[in-house]
Amino acid sequence: MTLRFSFVRRTIWLCLVVVLCSLPVLAEQAAPSMDQRVAALEAYVTNTDPGKSLTGVPGPGHNGWMMTSSALVLFMTLPGLALFYGGLVRRKNVLSVLAQCLGIAGLVTILWWAVGYSLVFGQSFKGSGIGRFLGGTEFMFLRGVTSAPNTDYAFWVSQNVFAMYQLMFAIITPALIVGAIAERMKFSAVLWFVTLWMLVVYFPLAHMIWGATGMMNGAANAGAAITAIDFAGGTVVHMSSGWSALILCLIIGPRIGFGREKMAPHSMVLCMVGTGMLWVGWYGFNAGSAVAADGIAANAFMTTTLAAAVASFTWGMIERVFRGHASILGFCSGAVAGLVVITPAAGFVSSTGAVILGLIAGSVPYLFVTSVKAKFGYDDALDTFGVHAVGGTMGAFLTGLFATGAVNSNLAGGAALKNGLAKLVTEGGLWHEQLKAIILTLFLAIAATFVLAHLVKMVVGLRPAPEIERQGLDLMEHGEEGYIE
């Protein structure tokens, strides 16, 4: 009895102490008012800051769209790009292209987890000299990257989803380079080159354009030195990969028998299947780049469709008129070129702008992959340069001419007001900033690739032995055959 009484008394005392101690805390964390709660819900609908009452909570709709978009962008590489490229090589090398895409997907994921995400989207270097070129170290090994949103980039999207979404871009970019050196680069050399290239080119470039403290992030960094805009990666993804691809294919040299032997695509069917997957996946790439299921995403969805369809049809019709046949490869090339050109512009231009960009995308890259390539004789095997570098550069520049605040409020308020971007968009002159971003991207991609390719050449060598190249990379490098008779 005594024991029991003493237990009850102690419990009551304990409760009293706990309640008294927590009183000041409770006073601070008073339940949000009805107004605050309604405002937070409105912020969910308008994709703005919910304030205190919903801090650290992702919004289901925005999060759902971003997880879908992440999967769509991965689908662009695996198997979209792998099949698009795989169909275009000779049958003895089809697996080598698939292996390169798969290898890059795994390798880049590890790099991204370890340092990539942090170097691109961290901020701990802010204020120091390198803050404008690289993010920081705070998110290395994805430390602290949880389901709570990182409000520097999105109020309603979990940071772990955001990190995975951006990872998919980091995977497809080096995979695009593979097209230029297809059928003749050692697998080990591909992996070494991609590792170095991600660290020296991609991570800094992605930070400069998209990082909160990036020097070329006109849309979100009030202190941007170059107030350029790049919605989904015209410079970061397509220019960087395309120009690097040209330099790498010049250093590695043409395939054995180039210009003398038949090197026709072994399967236009696979190529077309891959193109369809790229096009569908590109909705995640472009509309997902709004990092919300909002009106900007909706506009990007429309402009992406228009540019791709117009460019595909334009390319096919040019072939029909000048050569007599509208080819499958023509339609496919046009679609991809249209998607490349609209990438930097998707969330910034109107439907009219998208159709004009589509027309240009369907014709200028056509000239590059037919006339210019033939004239200079470089072996850009699957036309990474002709489509991605040319398309990406044009898209980045044309975004400067066609961007309008009418479809994207980020061009009219916030950071854009402080750094002068809003004025450039309304009064013209944005193309000047775009040109600066283009030149910086060009310089970084070309100079770094030149150095890194020679480095890899010295250490591991770029090319397999001629007999391996003759026999095909599938059997000799991967021990498998694409098609068993």
């Binding site: 275009l88 038949k262 090197m263 026709a264 695509p265 050569r323 046949h325 080819s327 490869l329 023509g330 090339s333 992959v369 037919t370 006339s371 390539k373 033939a374 036309d383 002709g386």
Partner: protein, 112 residues
Amino acid sequence: MKLVVAIIKPFKLEEVKEALAGLGIEGMTVTEVKGFGRQKGHTEIYRGSEYTVDFLPKVKIEIALGDELVARTVEAIVKSAKTGKIGDGKVFIVPLEDVVRIRTDEHGDAAI
């Protein structure tokens, strides 16, 4: 005995087979082959690259026959395989020394 070897357009194979079946021909060997004659090949263009395809797909039919059937067989092949356009193919008639049916060891006409 003769060996009749016919090179024809692939899409004509069904018609030729039916015509020969109508004559009571009891066996033939069919092979997918490639080659060129006066028809030559064709050109394929992939973006900026143009390739000449020299060898076109054809079908080769081989039939061993007793001498009395040869004339009618060749006539049936020519009639059924003809489109009148270049590339219809050719028929070769080759003397045949002997034939052996593996199952029974029969030789000559009995083995056909």
